[in-house]
């Protein structure tokens, strides 16, 4: 019996090639996107799960509260982890991590590499995080200060096929480190994404401050079934009992610590000072939603075309029933047909997904694979997906078709049998509602992207070359002197951090109020180089560096935050023993997704390895860059010349959003295409059905254009209803998305109008060809047929 069903399914597919193509291609597109979304979601939800007992591992976060706001940080004081290990019985192991704060030179065999994927950790690190060592022993790998542990990939990059153990790498021209262990990193998705782990150095007794300088990530592994709330309580008690104020006064610890399960970090944690940017569950949900949407649209195409063409199958159903088929058997037959189509579509879907994969990986900045790494799982998922899709797409047509009364279809009384047109109309409205919502959302996304890339930043990143200093022996003054000889350079400045980079955090107390704020160390030319305006007081001078009193320049938000608008200049910053000498205008150094926060600048001195900021004339730029390179190599002879341009670096802040816009655009295109494909099929069918009517109208004098309007307007009406239904939904999604930006574009009528016009144009283009064909038939053919 199954063979029989299969045979008749294949023959039906082949007989109705155009409709089979629309059905299969639509389903394949939908499933291809689903496969991509599946590997993406699987990746996004896989974080930390490869660590043993990952559910018992927590990161400690710090909450700073003052009168007005709370600030959560991912960073904690240095002494916290050891205090927890010693004082809190629930802690099985505790460890600290400090990530590299800039690229550093690692030299092997005189070949330098610049890496920032390294971190300093405690010896207990591998007790908390169960990295698998291929060589070496995780328990004593980091006991010596110059030991290093590398990932397999990193070891291969450095040493090729040689045995990595015992190899020596020079670290930043300062010291030699020795490789003692190799760990496996492939397959581990974690917010801790480093290829080199180094033990703490210089610090064991040095950094004991609890209240300044929060630079350390603390992790604890708790005993199974520990009550996290009670652990948090004990943690804060332990911190308070151990706390000593760095300023020596008796103030209590104001910061509150809270644990955070590491499995929640990747999708949910967006605290200050994260190791790297984490994902948003919202985006994952959007991709999931979009995957379902396109599949849903393809399924609707299937349902619509199958029921629309039911007349072609009605006789078959009638005959089968007369010779003995039950309704159940007929339903099974149609379900087998739809599952078969869905399985054929699956093969095509894998092909399409593999073709689209590099593009998606590029947009997401990931290296996802579909069939390469887990073929059996993916094929299994694909088969389950296609059977599910086949059932969902086929169930209504199967019930509809199998419900035909044999007597009606066999006596030619088919028209009275059943009418599926209202359902089809509803489904077309559903499809185009999704299209309308997505097109509107996309329009608003692009409007926002345009807004954030064209809005004034408050500083000028153009024509600014950024050169990181690498040699601690190099003095800024000698670098400036060397560069100033080059014609074509306008200004030379130095700063620790540049706009777009994560700033350091520091505690500042003005009057009674204190808070941890972003700060940067800059030299006296900083605001000139970046074209930032001074609104009160003065900026640093070269002489300030020698001065014994610490001096600070703050932004307007700082002034507002501490409520010192009346007389900001001369205000004392108590815990730093310094005064405010100037106020600068607020500028968007974090881009536009975060609002401008209070910000402090301090004078820069030499040991910080800052970056040179070189403002160049636009004329003759390539020559100037060459000259700078030539002169610079004299300054840092052991180091290769490295530079970038600030506008490009800063632009990277928008890259994620731009990529999201591109991905959304691409998927919207696919969705609209799939919906249009269905509309095309339906229009073809409608034209076929109304053949006789069209013939009669033409005999009575209707012109081709009148006939085209007749057919097109029905579809247009559906599409317009869809737009009305969906625009509010698209608007709400867009509003939700916009909340991730501190600065949002104003939504005007343009994207709404553009959405409606786009949909109307698409549906006219889709339907009119079929309408034209139907309208140009010689009327006698249509009438004679009957």
């Amino acid at each position: 019996m199954f063979n029989h069903y299969l045979k008749s399914a294949v023959r039906n597919l082949l007989r109705q090639k155009r409709f089979s193509f629309i059905n299969i291609f639509g389903l394949a597109l939908g499933m291809a996107i689903c496969l991509l979304v599946y590997v993406f979601v699987r990746y996004e939800t896989s974080f930390e799960k490869s660590f043993q007992d990952y559910e018992d591992i927590h990161r400690v976060t710090a909450l700073f509260t003052d009168d007005e706001e709370e600030e959560w940080m991912a960073l904690t004081p240095y002494p916290l982890a050891s205090a927890l290990a010693a004082d809190v019985p629930e802690v099985m192991a505790a460890t600290r991590l400090q990530s590299a704060w800039k690229e550093t030179q690692f030299k092997y065999n005189n070949a330098p590499r610049y890496l920032d994927n390294y971190a300093y950790v405690d010896t207990s690190f591998f007790q908390v995080f169960s990295y698998e060592f291929t060589i070496g022993d995780p328990n004593n790998a980091l006991t010596e200060p110059n030991n290093a542990v590398l990932s397999e990939n990193m070891a291969t990059q450095f040493f090729g096929d040689q045995n990595p153990i015992g190899q020596v790498i020079n670290f930043n021209n300062e010291r030699d480190i020795k490789v003692v262990g190799i760990f496996k990193k492939t397959g581990i998705n974690s917010h801790i994404d480093f290829d080199i782990f180094l033990p703490w150095r210089y610090r064991e007794n040095g950094d004991t401050q609890w209240d300044n300088m929060l630079n350390y990530y603390s992790y604890v592994k708790l005993y199974p079934n520990t009550d996290v709330a009670s652990f948090d309580k004990k943690m804060n008690q332990a911190a308070r009992s151990r706390f000593t104020s760095s300023s020596g006064d008796e103030e209590p610890l104001t910061v509150l610590f809270a644990s955070q399960s590491i499995k929640d970090i990747h999708l949910h944690s967006h605290l200050d000072g994260e190791i790297g940017a984490n994902s948003y569950q919202f985006y994952m949900l959007i991709y999931l939603l979009v995957g379902f949407a396109i599949l849903f649209i393809a399924v609707i195409n299937f349902t619509n075309l199958s029921t629309a063409r039911s007349a072609n199958r009605a006789k078959e159903v009638g005959v089968r029933k007369v010779v003995g088929a039950s309704r159940w058997e007929s339903s099974i037959q149609f379900l087998i047909e739809s599952i078969l189509q869905s399985l054929v579509a699956l093969v095509l879907a894998f092909l399409l997904a593999e073709i689209m994969l590099p593009y998606f990986n590029g947009l997401l900045g990931l290296e996802l694979t579909i069939l390469k790494s887990t073929p059996i799982l993916m094929i299994g998922f694909g088969i389950v997906l296609s059977i599910f899709v086949g059932l969902v797409a086929g169930i209504y047509p199967a019930l509809f078709l199998s419900g035909f009364s044999p007597i009606k279809v066999l006596t030619g009384d088919f028209s009275k049998s059943k009418d599926s047109a209202p359902l089809r109309k509803g489904l077309v409205i559903a499809q185009f509602s999704i299209c309308a919502a997505l097109i509107l959302f996309l329009g608003i996304v692009f409007q926002q992207l345009n807004y954030i890339t064209s809005k004034s930043l408050g500083f000028n990143p153009e024509q600014i070359m950024v050169i990181p200093l690498q040699d601690r022996k190099l003095k800024m003054s000698s670098a400036a002197a060397e560069l100033s000889r080059i014609p074509g350079i306008e200004t030379i400045s130095f700063a620790n951090k540049l706009p777009g980079e994560e700033m350091g955090g520091n505690g500042y107390q003005v009057g009674e109020k204190s808070a941890v704020l972003d700060f940067n160390r800059v030299d006296e030319n900083f605001i000139e180089a970046l074209d930032i305006k001074l609104t009160a007081g003065k900026f640093f001078t070269a002489a300030d560096i020698q001065d014994s009193v610490r001096k600070f320049v703050v932004n307007e938000s700082f002034v507002n935050f501490y409520n010192i608008k009346e007389n900001p200049i001369g205000q004392r910053i108590a815990n730093q023993d310094g005064v405010i000498i100037g106020v600068i205008e607020d500028f968007h150094w974090k881009g536009f997704n975060e609002s401008i926060t209070p910000f402090v600048m301090q004078e820069l001195n030499d040991p910080w390895l800052p970056k040179a900021i070189v403002k160049i004339h636009s004329e003759n730029l390539p020559q100037t860059v060459k000259d700078i390179q030539k002169n610079w190599s004299k300054l840092e002879p052991g180091y290769p010349f490295r530079y970038s341009f600030l506008d490009a670096d800063f632009g990277a802040l928008f890259k994620n959003y731009q990529n999201f816009g591109k991905a959304l655009g691409f998927i919207t295109l696919l969705i609209v295409f799939t919906a249009a494909l269905g509309l095309f099929g339906l229009a073809a069918y409608t034209a076929e059905q109304r053949n006789k009517e069209i013939g009669i109208r033409k005999v009575l004098g209707a012109s081709i254009s009148q006939i085209m309007v007749l057919i097109t307007k029905d579809f247009m009406y559906l599409v317009l209803v869809a737009a009305v239904v969906a625009l509010p939904v698209g608007y709400l999604i867009a509003r939700k998305w916009l909340t991730s930006f501190a600065y949002q574009t104003e939504i005007n009528a343009f994207p709404f109008l553009a959405t409606i016009i786009t949909l109307v144009v698409i549906s006219i283009l889709t339907v009119s060809w079929q309408a034209y064909r139907a309208a140009s038939i010689n009327p006698v053919n249509a009438i004679k047929d009957e």
Binding site: S8, R11, G318, V322, A325, R327, P406, L410
Partner: protein, 229 residues
Amino acid sequence: MIRTNKLKKVYRTEEIETTALNEVDLHIQSGEFVSIMGPSGCGKSTLLNILGLIDNPSSGEYYFLDEEVSKYSERQRSNLRKHNIGFIFQSFNLIDELSVYENVELPMLYTKVPAGERKKRTEELLEKMNMMHRKNHFPQQLSGGQQQRVAVARAIVNNPKIILADEPTGNLDSSNGDDVMKTLAQLNQEGTTIIMVTHSAYCSEFGNRVVRLLDGQIVSENTIAKYRI
């Protein structure tokens, strides 16, 4: 074998009520060959459809093999139908996507006849109908007469107790029509009960009884003394 008691079929639309069958009492013995005749719209096909269990009466009783079946569900009727009734239509109603062989085999799939037996019976019947050489062809490649021969083969492949034929020669020329009628008569000779709706007096003479309908009622029943073979 078949007995109806005050069988009634009424079609209702919003405004009009049409009585297609009006208290029809009919009794057909096993082995009979009954022709139902009457003008268009008299209710012949409606009666045949109800007798064939593809339609339900509005009221009245219908005994099929001594069982009252007028209130049967579609599932029960389907079950009775596939084991006991074969249908032949004016427009043949072969399935276009299935070959000659597969069309004939189809009813046995629904009665779960084993594959070997299916093959044997299908081939026997195709031989008998002289269609073996065309077994891999599709219906649209056959002439009307050939299509009806396939349809007859399909109708009898499950050895039904009764064959219902609705104008079986209506779409055929006289020679092909004659062939079909002879086949039916032959089947009747072999013991199959046949009920046939026809307009043709000539065809009705192949049977042993003619039932005439007018406006949904039986107006006469004649036994044919010497019928054709």
